[in-house]
C-alpha cells in the first residue's frame, strides 16, 4: 500500500516537473509572439506593405521592396534547393549502404552545422565576385542552406515507409524507380513537407548570408543580377537606426510580416500534403 502511494506521488512529481519545463519553454516563445504582435500591429498600414523603403529617419514609405525581395529570393532558393534536397534524400534512403551514400550523409551533416555567415562568404566569393551583389548570389547561398535540412528529413521520411507498401507496388510490376517516385514518395510526403517547411522558415529569416550576397536595397526588384531588399535586412537596418521613433516601429512591423509569411507557407504546405484518409 505504502509503495503504491509512493509511486503515485512519484508520478505526480514527474508530471508537475514536465509541466513546469513546458511552461518555461513556452514563456519566451509566447512573449516573442505577444511583443511582435502588439508592437508590429500599430505599425501596419497599406503604405508599409506596398511602398518603397525610405532612408533612415525619414517618415512615410514602407518595406514593399523588402517583402518582394524576400519572396523572390526565398522562392528562387526553394526552386533550386528543394529538388536537390529531395532527390538527395531519396538517394540516401534508397542506396543506404553504398559508399557514396555514407560519404554524402557525412558531408550533409557537416553542412547542416556550417554557420550561415560562412555560406554567405561562399556566395560572395563564388558568385558576387563574378557577377556582383545579386538576387542569384543570395538565392544560391540560401539554397545551400536548405539542401542538408531537406535531404535529411526526406531520407528519414522515406525510411519510415513500410517495406510492405514498397513490395506491394513492385510485385504489381511497377518498376522500382517508379515505385519510389509514386507510392513511396506519396507515403512520405507529410514528413518531406515538414522538412521543406523547416528549411523555408529557416532561410526566410536569415540575415547574415544575405548581407554578403544580395546586399540590400531601398528599391523594387530590378533583375536577378541586381542587389535587392529583404525583410531580415530591413529589420536589421531599421533596428540599428539612430532615429528610433520613426524606424523602430517599422522594424516591428517588418518582423510581424515575416512571421506572417512563414505562417502562411506553413498552412499552405500542411493543407496541400494532408492525408486524404487521416
Amino acid at each position: 500500500m505504502r509503495s503504491y502511494r509512493f509511486r503515485k506521488l512519484e508520478d505526480l512529481i514527474m508530471i508537475s516537473l514536465a509541466y513546469a519545463a513546458l511552461i518555461i519553454a513556452l514563456i519566451p516563445l509566447a512573449s516573442i509572439l505577444v511583443e511582435t504582435v502588439s508592437r508590429g500591429l500599430p505599425a501596419m498600414s497599406f503604405s508599409l506593405l506596398f511602398e518603397e523603403i525610405p532612408p533612415l529617419g525619414q517618415s512615410g514609405g514602407g518595406i514593399g521592396p523588402a517583402i518582394q525581395g524576400t519572396l523572390i529570393v526565398v522562392t528562387l532558393a526553394s526552386i533550386m534547393g528543394i529538388p536537390i534536397g529531395v532527390f538527395s534524400g531519396i538517394y540516401l534512403a534508397e542506396f543506404r549502404q553504398s559508399r557514396l551514400a555514407s560519404a554524402a550523409r557525412f558531408l550533409n551533416d557537416v553542412l547542416t552545422n556550417v554557420p550561415s555567415i560562412v555560406l554567405g562568404i561562399f556566395g560572395w566569393a563564388f558568385v558576387v565576385v563574378a557577377i556582383g551583389w545579386s538576387v542569384i548570389a543570395g538565392a544560391i547561398a540560401l539554397a545551400i542552406m536548405m539542401i542538408p535540412i531537406v535531404t535529411r528529413t526526406t531520407e528519414e521520411a522515406i525510411k519510415l515507409v513500410p517495406l510492405t507498401i514498397r513490395e506491394a507496388a513492385i510485385a504489381l510490376g511497377v518498376p522500382q524507380w517508379k515505385t519510389t517516385l509514386t507510392v513511396v514518395l506519396s507515403s512520405a510526403k507529410k514528413g518531406i513537407a515538414t522538412g521543406i517547411l523547416l528549411a523555408v522558415a529557416r532561410i526566410s529569416g536569415e540575415t547574415a548570408p544575405l548581407l554578403l550576397t544580395i546586399l540590400g536595397s531601398r528599391f523594387w526588384f530590378s533583375g536577378f543580377t541586381q542587389p535587392t531588399a529583404a525583410i531580415p535586412l530591413a529589420i536589421f537596418n531599421f533596428s540599428q537606426s539612430p532615429f528610433r521613433t520613426v524606424d523602430l516601429p517599422r522594424a516591428w512591423g517588418a518582423s510581424l510580416i515575416l512571421i506572417f509569411i512563414v505562417l502562411v507557407i506553413n498552412i499552405i504546405l500542411r493543407y496541400s500534403t494532408r492525408e486524404k484518409y487521416g
Binding site: 507498401i165 506491394a168 510485385a171 504489381l172 517508379k178 507510392v183 507515403s187 492525408e275
Partner: protein, 252 residues
C-alpha cells in the same frame, strides 16, 4: 495438363546463408499447388524466387533456372518487371496502399503504369473486385480508403489488385494467416474458383487448408524439397517418413 512453371536446381541465399538447396519441381497449369513446411524452411523465399522478388533483398542471391512457359525468368534479357506482371503476388499480411481509395487500390498496378482511360479502369475495377468476391460488399463505397476495410476484405482487395493486372500465375503467401475462420473460408473458396483460370501457388501453415484447397502439395524442410505430389498422395500416402511426421503434427 501442361506445366506452367518448371523450377530447375534452384538455390537461394541471404548473404552467405543458404536457405534453398537445389529445388527442382514442375508446377501444373490451372491447378492449386500448396507449399507446406515448418517455419523458416524457405517457403516464402521459394515463391519470392518465382517472381524475382527475392533479389530485392540486399545481398540475396539465386542460382538455377525458373522456366515460365519454357522461358527462363532469370534469363539474361528478361526484365523482372515483365515477370512480375505475369506472376502476381498476394502477401501474408494484407497490404493495401493506405493512401489510396478502394477503387485506386484495385487498379493501382494499371494506374502506376500509366493507364488513364477512365472507362477501361472502371471496367477493370468491377471485374477484378467481382473476381475477388468483394464487389457486392464495396460497390457503393469505392471512394473509401482501402485501409478502412476489415482484414478479410483487405486481403480480398489485395487479391483483386493482383488480378487487375491480369497475371497468369498468382502466388499467395499464407493469405489467410491474418484472418478469422469465416474470412479465411471465403478466401479458400475464392482460390478454388481462381484455379479455373489461373495457376495458383499457395504457401500455408495450415494442413487442413492445404488438403482443402490444393491439387498438389510440396513439402519443404530445411530448404530442401522433401516430397512433392498430388495432395491426396501426400496426405494419405506419404513416401517420406519426414512428411508423414510433419502432416501428422509430430513436429513443425
Amino acid at each position: 495438363m501442361r506445366y506452367k512453371i518448371e523450377i530447375q536446381s534452384l538455390s537461394a541465399w541471404f548473404g552467405s546463408k543458404q536457405v534453398l538447396q537445389d529445388i527442382t519441381m514442375r508446377i501444373k497449369e490451372n491447378v492449386v499447388t500448396a507449399i507446406i513446411g515448418p517455419s523458416g524452411c524457405g517457403k516464402t523465399t521459394l515463391i519470392r524466387c518465382l517472381n524475382r522478388m527475392h533479389e530485392l533483398t540486399p545481398r540475396a542471391k539465386v542460382t538455377g533456372r525458373v522456366l515460365l512457359d519454357g522461358e527462363d525468368i532469370y534469363g539474361e534479357n528478361v526484365d523482372p518487371v515483365t515477370v512480375r506482371r505475369r506472376i502476381g503476388m498476394v502477401f501474408q499480411k494484407p497490404n493495401p496502399f493506405p493512401m489510396m481509395s478502394i477503387y485506386d487500390n484495385t487498379v493501382a498496378g494499371l494506374k502506376l503504369n500509366g493507364v488513364t482511360d477512365k472507362k477501361r479502369l472502371d471496367e477493370v475495377v468491377e471485374k477484378s473486385l467481382r473476381a475477388a468476391h468483394l464487389w457486392d460488399e464495396v460497390k457503393s463505397e469505392l471512394g473509401k480508403s482501402g485501409a478502412s476495410l476489415s482484414g478479410g476484405q483487405q486481403q480480398r482487395l489485395c487479391i483483386a489488385r493482383a488480378l487487375a493486372i491480369e497475371p497468369e500465375v498468382i502466388l499467395m503467401d499464407e493469405p489467410t494467416s491474418a484472418l478469422d475462420p469465416t474470412a479465411a473460408a471465403k478466401i479458400e473458396q475464392l482460390i478454388r474458383i481462381l484455379a479455373e483460370n489461373y495457376t495458383v501457388v499457395i504457401v500455408t501453415h495450415n494442413m487442413q487448408q492445404a488438403a482443402r484447397v490444393s491439387d498438389f502439395t510440396a513439402f519443404l524442410y530445411l530448404g530442401k524439397l522433401v516430397e512433392y505430389g498430388s495432395t491426396k498422395d501426400i496426405f494419405e500416402n506419404p513416401k517420406s517418413e519426414l512428411t508423414e511426421k510433419y502432416i501428422t503434427g509430430e513436429f513443425g
